[in-house]
Each structure stands twice: as structure tokens, then as C-alpha cells.
């Protein structure tokens, strides 16, 4: 009989129209490192939000046993009181407060007078920093630390709360190799000290090297639990569990017949808006009509920065290089000029940069091409509604009407609104930045089908994605970007994940 510190049984959590989790089971042994993996949208984050009380008792069904006893969490404070601490992918530190202030935020070390005891605060912080192997003065503002060190501050903060179960959501996603290795070592040390860790990760090599057991989720269900101790479980074995089917059937078929060149970018160089470094360095690429071209790169490689700077210089400064549409050099010094030249850019973060969430589908669809519906500044609103209705039907946007507020739609339907908005500008080339991020599997397939339809209609598509299988499944050619430089281009037929990774990691030492 295993000694389970945590058991989650038959957890079901539904959002309107979507079952995010169905009968999910998770069992974690005391003192192990337990990995949770699954594709985007498999339900990993939702499960952790249930566990940490972000979704309180009553908003889901099923039960949570901690040390064998059922627990009900009404909020994060509840779960933290039980020793469960979650460190999110987006770090939650206050930039202009010191390391020590961040560690004890909401949990301040007070003296007898009720005022903060700074000596004790900084001394305890120094002790915690030593235990995570971070050699920094506790009074240093967090903003001066790199991402890797900030991650360690988060862990020190968790340790200050007498954590029993530490949850790390994509802890190494933003770290370089050295910082990642350091973090993984720290996790091993914490395990040896008796702290149980749950780690969500996309990096399968890390999982195989560090995890004692792995739970695989797919489409909101538990697929299997793998014991890693014997070393028999390979990355391929985990992928099989995550995908559950062959990649071939996951991407709709498309007959590729590229035509004439549509967009060519030459010698594109972009400087960081505030720091003195090049984010994109002499990049050149081209895309033809009827072609899907992928851009692969690690986080920080400059993929989004390249796309946004091309799209009307909406990122960076000191931009140099040349743009050609259909062989003729163009100027795209503002977003509206870029749109006028037939370029569209669908952002990677649709909620922050892509949609007006408080407005309805109709106004969002027309927002980038409003002048097409207007004469002398007056909008033809009935025509606008018709356009939105057409999009809703063609794109299969699941909403009661085009007057539905976009913020209430699911991620997949929001993404379809974003695509509708850009298609209404009638672009020649669409740059799609992470077009399937945070979208469930069914909607992904629909998005892929839409993309295929677009290129069949003669549009050119540039697709940026962190998911290599997606690029391999969808693209005709794939460019690799590393530290702002194009390090290679492979026809999809010749490309493999390994070859792409090798090119994506090239020149990595010069990143920092």
C-alpha cells in the first residue's frame, strides 16, 4: 500500500459548453516528484486550479484527499494553510519590492509592536535564499533579477510557508539550460528533504530524467499513470499517451501547390524597445501563395518580435530591412499601412492583444476592416451584422448570436473571431502567432481546417508555433529562429522534431 500524500478522485469540472475535466484521478506518493503532462488544453492547469482552491469546493465534483483525509478548499489561502503551494508559469512577484519583501508578502514577519521586523525578515530571507542556492542580497529589488533567479525566489517564498506539496507549472519554460539544470537539481534536493513536488511540463526530457511517476492527461481525462523508476518509460511512450493517436490523422490533409511569392522579408533587424540588444538580427524569409510556412524557435528566439515588427512596426525600434509584396518593395510603417498592403497578424495572446472582450462578435469582426463598411465615416451597421453572420456560419463560431459578448466565448471560438476579423481585411498573407494556444483538441482541428481552406484559396500563411508536431503537421516549409537569427529552413518532408530542435538551439550560447 503506497503512502499517498494526495489523492484526487473523479474530479469533473465543466465550463459552459466545455467539460474541462472528466473523472480525472491523480495520486501522488509522499516525497516523490510527480509529473503531469498533456497537450495544451488537456486540463493540466484546470486540475491544478481545482487542487489549489482557485476553483473552490462546489464548483467541481469529485473529492480531494490530503494525507488520506478529505479536504474542501474555498480559496488559495485554504490550500496554502494545508501546505499546498502553487508556482504559476507567469511569475507573481512584485517587481519593485525587494526579494525579502516578496518572500514574506501577505505573510509578513512582525515584531511585538505589530510593525514589520526588518532584521528578522531579511535574516530569514537570507536563510531561505541559501537553501535554494540563490546568492543575492535579500534587499535587492526583484526587477533586477533574471527570470531564472526570480523562479528561485518563488520557490523560497513557497518554502517560507512550510510547504508540504509544491506545484510547479512549467517551471523551466522561460529558463535557459543552465538555469533549468539548476532548478531540476533543486527539486531533487527538496524531494530528499521530504517535500513532495508536482511538476507540469512540456519538456519530456526533463520529465524522464527527474520524475518518479507521471500522470498523462488528454482531453480532460486521465489516460494513464506511468512509473518512471525503472527507466523503461521513454519520451516516445509519453507522447503516445498524450496524443493517443497518430499525428497523421490529427492534421487534416492538404494538397500542397505553392504559387508565386507573396511576401519576402529581407535582412530584417530589430532592436529591443528599451534594452540595447538586437531581438531580430538580419532575418530573411519568404512565403508563397498557397503555402504554409512555419517559424520554429524557443521562447525568446524573437518569433513574435519578428512578426510584430513586420506588421506595421508594432514592436521594437531601429527597424531596418526590406519588405516585398508580390515582388514589389512596400512600406509598412504603421499597422494601418501593413493592413492596407495585405498583411494580417493574429496575435499569440488573443485576450490581451487580439480582442475587445467586452464588446460583441459583430464589432470585433469588423474592427480591423471597418473602413470597408463605411462611407464618409459612417458605418453601415446592417451590412456589418451581415458580415459577422457570414463569419459565424462559415467559421462555425458557436454563439447564440453575433451580438454575443466575445469575452464569454470559449478559447476556440474566440480564436475563430480573431481569424474572422483578419479575413475581413482580405489579406494576402496571414501571420498566425500560436493560433491554437489554449484551445481544445476539437477546435484545433477546426482551426487547422480553416488554415488549409485559406491556402487552398490562394492566401499565404506564416505560422508561428511552440508545438513542433503542429508545425510538422501543417507546414510546407519550416524556418528555425534562434537568438533573432534564421538558423535554417527545412521542407516539411525532411524535417523532424530532432532536426528542428538542433537548429533552434544553435547559437544558443550567444542568447544571453
Amino acid at each position: 500500500m503506497d503512502d499517498h500524500i494526495l489523492e484526487m478522485r473523479r474530479i469533473t469540472k465543466t465550463f459552459p459548453g466545455v467539460a474541462a475535466l472528466q473523472d480525472v484521478t491523480l495520486a501522488v506518493r509522499r516525497g516523490e516528484i510527480h509529473a503531469i503532462c498533456g497537450e495544451n488544453g488537456a486540463g493540466k492547469s484546470t486540475l491544478m486550479k481545482v487542487l489549489s482552491g482557485v476553483y473552490p469546493t462546489g464548483s467541481y465534483s469529485g473529492e480531494i484527499l490530503l494525507d488520506g483525509k478529505p479536504v474542501d478548499f474555498r480559496g488559495i489561502r485554504d490550500s496554502e494553510a494545508h501546505g499546498i503551494v502553487i508556482i504559476h508559469q507567469e511569475l507573481a512577484l512584485v517587481p519593485y519590492l525587494s526579494i525579502a519583501e516578496n518572500i514574506f508578502l501577505g505573510n509578513e514577519r512582525r515584531g511585538r509592536s505589530g510593525l514589520i521586523d526588518w532584521n528578522r525578515t531579511n535574516a530569514e530571507a537570507a536563510r531561505l535564499l541559501a537553501s535554494v542556492g540563490l546568492h543575492e542580497n535579500p534587499v535587492t529589488p526583484v526587477v533586477q533579477l533574471g527570470v531564472g533567479k526570480q523562479q528561485l525566489v518563488e520557490i523560497a517564498k513557497a518554502l517560507s510557508k512550510e510547504v508540504k506539496l509544491l506545484i510547479l507549472d512549467e517551471p523551466t519554460a522561460a529558463l535557459n539550460d543552465v538555469d533549468s539544470a539548476h532548478l531540476l537539481n533543486l527539486m531533487r534536493r527538496l524531494r530528499d528533504q521530504g517535500i513532495t513536488c508536482i511538476m507540469i511540463s512540456h519538456k519530456l526530457n526533463e520529465i524522464t530524467s527527474i520524475a518518479d511517476s507521471t500522470t498523462v492527461l488528454r482531453d480532460g481525462r486521465t489516460v494513464e499513470r506511468l512509473e518512471m523508476g525503472s527507466g523503461e518509460v521513454t519520451q516516445e511512450r509519453i507522447i503516445r499517451g498524450m496524443v493517443g493517436r497518430d499525428l497523421d490523422s490529427f492534421y487534416p490533409d492538404r494538397v500542397s501547390s505553392p504559387g508565386a511569392e507573396v511576401l519576402r522579408i529581407e535582412d530584417w533587424t530589430v532592436r529591443h524597445p528599451t534594452q540595447d540588444r538586437l531581438v531580430v538580427d538580419g532575418a530573411s524569409l519568404d512565403v508563397r501563395a498557397g503555402e504554409v510556412v512555419g517559424i520554429a524557435g524557443l521562447m525568446g528566439a524573437g518569433r513574435t518580435e519578428l512578426a510584430m515588427s513586420v506588421f506595421g512596426r508594432s514592436y521594437g525600434r531601429d527597424i531596418s530591412g526590406r519588405l516585398y509584396m508580390h515582388g514589389k518593395e512596400i512600406r509598412a510603417r504603421s499597422v494601418s499601412e501593413a493592413i492596407g498592403n495585405g498583411i494580417a497578424y493574429a496575435t499569440e495572446d488573443r485576450k490581451r492583444f487580439g480582442l475587445n472582450l467586452i464588446d460583441d462578435i459583430r464589432h470585433n469582426v469588423s474592427s480591423a476592416g471597418l473602413h470597408r463598411l463605411a462611407r464618409a465615416g459612417w458605418v453601415h451597421d446592417n451590412e456589418e451584422t451581415r458580415v459577422a453572420e457570414t463569419s459565424r456560419r462559415d467559421m462555425n463560431i458557436k454563439a447564440p448570436s453575433v451580438l454575443s459578448v466575445v469575452g464569454k466565448l470559449s478559447g476556440g471560438n474566440q480564436q475563430k473571431v480573431v481569424l474572422s476579423k483578419w479575413l475581413f481585411t482580405d489579406p494576402d498573407v496571414l501571420i498566425l502567432d500560436e493560433p491554437t494556444r489554449g484551445i481544445d483538441v476539437g477546435a484545433k482541428f477546426e482551426i487547422y481546417t480553416i488554415i488549409n481552406q485559406l491556402v487552398a484559396d490562394g492566401k499565404a500563411v506564416i505560422m508561428i508555433s511552440s508545438e513542433l508536431p503542429e508545425l510538422l503537421g501543417m507546414c510546407d516549409r519550416i524556418y528555425t529562429l534562434s537568438a533573432g537569427r534564421i538558423t535554417g529552413v527545412l521542407p516539411a518532408a525532411e524535417a523532424t522534431q530532432e532536426k528542428l530542435m538542433e537548429l533552434m538551439a544553435k547559437d544558443k550560447e550567444s542568447v544571453r
Binding site: F15, P16, F311, G312, S314, S334, V335, S336, A338, I339, Y345, T347, R352, F353, G354, L355, N356, L357, I358, D359, H363, S366, S367, A368, L370, H371, A374, G377, W378, V379, D381, N382, E383, T385, R386, V387, E389, T390, S391, R393, D394, S401, K408, K421, L423, F424, D426
Partner: protein, 416 residues
């Protein structure tokens, strides 16, 4: 985009609907219509309740012809300011300077007309020019330098109050010539006679109702042609009759007092123009887009700086209009004129459903919000409530109105 023929949305079906179809289609469930428009209708209900409450508390005095005329004259400039303010707020900004700008524009006008003896219209032009310049000043700092409007207009509040004192050389100027006085205190009366009442006022009321009915009917026909859901015909008629009755009753009360106030015509034109501007023009849409999600608007090709600039120029223009009306009504310019007007205008916009975070609000809502404040102040004055209590009550109403809005939003957020 491909434009295939839309499929049937309701029972009228075909894409070649005739106007006759407008008579017999539509969903007739008033409950869903009310629920869908709770945010909007809630504010109308509040206005009706408050009007009824004060009619009861003052034994009908608040609805007397003389008092209704008074409310129009007394609060018109706040409503003018509220039009500009709601647009500023929809864009995600705020303007704290309008009271000072009202004072400055009124003062410039007074200097031109009273001290220099120029004709009345030159005073109006000078005031408008100053208002536009002030708006451009604010717009420059907000849009092109990127300083938050709160700071820019806080500075403007001090700056333009100071300039008012300089322009007036620390003294009041009065009186204006009779023509200038007519702007806020004049009436169109007796143009076509009437026996104890002014027929011209009733005629204008009738034209307004007819125009409203025709425009609503045309909208309805167009919506049906585009296969969009409309309210049932019975409900449509009921709405027309209700609006018509209210407007005609209002006109009748005015006709029985002093006739049609000129300032009401100015206000009606502004409401009409700005109502259309916000809902139907590219500019209006871009204001909503910027307030709703600034980076998304930028990445959709909206020229954010230009739009923000013109939002403030427009506010300056409307401040000048309010400045002219106020100076005309008070028959002179005082150094302290317009004090705290910005707060009344901001309150009107928020009570009328504008969101503190931007992207939400309507001109009509701001007008209703302003009227709620107006009816309350006026009613309390009639009842002889102390100034101190009036202020307390108005503060509480503003707080409750915004709390209700926040509560509504949270409910909408969790119901998904």
C-alpha cells in the same frame, strides 16, 4: 468575404422582405428583451422612479410647467458637458478640467462682448476657439506625449482657472446684451399663436415624435431585411406610443409655461448628432475599441493617438458650448463660474452606465444619468432640503449607481 445568402433567422424567412413584413414579425417575449437591456432599461426605470418619487414628495409641484422649464434651463450645460465626458470616459480617460474651461470660455466671451463691445456672435466664436485650443492642448499631452489624462486635466483645471482670473482681472463682468442672453434664457414662443398655450412648441414636439417613429420604423424594416431579430410589432407600437406620449406631455407642459427654450433645441441637436457619432461612425467605434482594449485596437490599425487627440478637442468644444450657455444664463462671467461642473458631468456619465475602465457607455445613458441628478437636485431644492444634505444624497446615489453596475457585471461574469 464570400457573401452567401443568409439562412432563415426567423419566420419571415426570405431575403426580399417588404416593409409590410415589419408589421408581423419579431420575438414578442418582453421579458427577454428587458433582461437583455437591463443595463440600459435599469437606468430608465431609475429615472421614472425618481421623477415619481419627487412628484409625490412635492405634491406634483416638480412636474408643474414652470418647474419643468426650470430644470431644462438649469441643467442644460451639465448635460452638454456629460455628452463630451461620456465619450472621454468610453475612451478610457477622464477630464477634470471642464469646470475651469467653462469658466475660461465664458470669460473670454464676456471680455469680447461686454468689455470690447463686439457683437454677441463674435463672443460665441471666441469662446469656441478657446475651447478647441484647450482641447488640443489636452489632446497633445494625452495622445502624443502619453501622460495620463487624469494628470493632464488636473493640471488643466488649475491652469485654466488661473487664466480665467487673469482674463477677468479678478472681477465679474456683466451684463450681456439681450441677444446673448437669449441663448440660455430665450424661448421660441407665439410664432404660430395658440390659446393659452404655445402651438409652436406642440408642433415641434409633434415633429420630433414623427421623426422618431419614422426613424425607428426604418431601422426595423432594415433589420428585418437583414434577417435580424426585432421586437414584436405590438411591443414596437407600445414603445412608439409610450415615447410619443411622454414627449407630447413634456411639450404640453413647456407650451403651458413659456414655450420652447432655445437651449433645449441646442441640446436636442447635440444629443442627436453625438448619439449618431458614437454609434454609427468609424470615429465612434474606434473610441469604444480603444477604451475596450487599447493594444488590440492598436494592432487592428486604429490610429490611437489621432483618436485620443480628437476626443479631447471635442471635449474642449463642448466645454465651450457649455461655457457660452452658462455665461448667458448667469448673464455675465464670474471668476468662480463652473466650479465642480466636472464632477456633475462625470457623475452623469457613470450613473448612465459608463464603465470606469472604459469601453462602455452611451450618450443617451449619460443624458438619463444627468437628468437623474437634475431631478434629484431640483426636487430637493423644491422641498427645501439643506445644501449639505443635497450633497450627501447625490454622493450616495453616484456610489450606489456604480456599485449596481459592478454587481451586474460580476453577475454576468459568473453566470457563464
Amino acid at each position: 468575404m464570400t457573401s452567401t445568402k443568409p439562412s432563415s433567422v426567423h419566420k419571415s424567412g426570405s431575403a426580399e422582405s417588404t416593409p409590410a413584413d415589419a408589421l408581423h414579425v419579431g420575438s414578442s417575449d418582453p421579458r427577454t428583451l428587458i433582461m437583455n437591456n437591463l443595463r440600459q432599461s435599469g437606468i430608465f426605470v431609475a429615472l421614472v422612479v425618481i421623477v415619481a418619487l419627487f412628484a409625490f414628495l412635492t405634491d406634483g409641484l416638480s412636474l408643474s410647467p414652470g418647474n419643468i422649464t426650470n430644470i431644462v434651463l438649469q441643467y442644460s450645460y451639465i448635460l452638454v458637458l456629460a455628452i463630451g465626458m461620456v465619450i472621454v470616459i468610453i475612451g478610457g480617460h477622464i477630464d477634470l478640467s471642464v469646470g475651469s474651461v467653462v469658466a475660461l470660455t465664458g470669460a473670454v466671451s464676456a471680455v469680447v462682448v461686454i468689455r470690447q463691445g463686439q457683437p454677441w456672435w463674435l463672443g460665441v466664436l471666441a469662446a469656441v476657439a478657446v475651447g478647441l485650443a484647450v482641447g488640443a492642448w489636452h489632446g497633445f499631452w494625452v495622445a502624443y506625449v502619453g501622460i495620463p489624462a487624469f494628470i493632464v486635466t488636473l493640471a488643466g483645471m488649475l491652469l485654466f482657472r488661473g487664466l480665467t482670473l487673469r482674463v477677468l482681472e479678478n472681477v465679474s463682468l456683466s451684463p450681456f446684451p439681450a441677444e446673448y442672453n437669449q441663448i440660455a434664457a430665450g424661448f421660441l414662443n407665439g410664432l404660430i399663436g395658440g390659446d393659452g398655450y404655445d402651438a409652436f412648441t406642440l408642433l415641434i414636439g409633434g415633429i420630433a415624435v414623427a421623426g422618431y417613429v419614422v426613424s425607428c420604423f426604418r431601422t426595423r424594416v432594415a433589420r428585418i431585411r437583414y434577417q435580424q431579430p426585432v421586437e414584436s410589432f405590438a411591443l414596437f407600437v407600445a414603445r412608439m406610443v409610450l415615447v410619443g406620449a411622454v414627449v407630447m406631455w413634456f411639450a404640453w407642459q413647456l407650451a403651458n409655461a413659456r414655450g420652447l427654450p432655445i437651449v433645449l433645441i441646442i441640446l436636442a441637436v447635440l444629443v442627436l448628432v453625438y448619439g449618431l457619432l458614437t454609434r454609427r461612425t468609424v470615429f465612434g467605434r474606434q473610441v469604444y475599441a480603444i477604451g475596450g482594449n487599447l493594444p488590440a485596437a492598436m494592432l487592428s490599425g486604429v490610429k490611437v493617438r489621432t483618436v485620443n487627440f480628437w476626443i479631447f478637442v471635442n471635449m474642449g468644444f463642448l466645454s465651450a458650448v457649455a461655457g457660452v450657455i452658462f455665461s448667458s444664463r448667469s448673464n455675465g462671467a464670474q471668476p468662480a463660474a463652473g466650479n465642480m461642473f466636472e464632477l456633475d458631468a462625470i457623475a452623469a456619465a457613470f450613473i448612465g452606465g459608463a464603465a470606469v475602465t472604459g469601453g462602455v457607455g452611451t450618450v443617451v445613458g449619460a443624458m438619463v444619468g444627468g437628468l437623474i441628478m437634475a431631478v434629484m437636485s431640483n426636487g430637493m431644492q423644491l422641498m427645501g432640503v439643506e445644501q449639505s444634505m443635497q450633497s450627501v444624497v447625490k454622493g450616495l446615489v453616484l456610489l450606489v449607481a456604480v456599485a449596481f453596475d459592478v454587481y451586474n457585471k460580476r453577475r454576468a461574469g459568473t453566470s457563464r
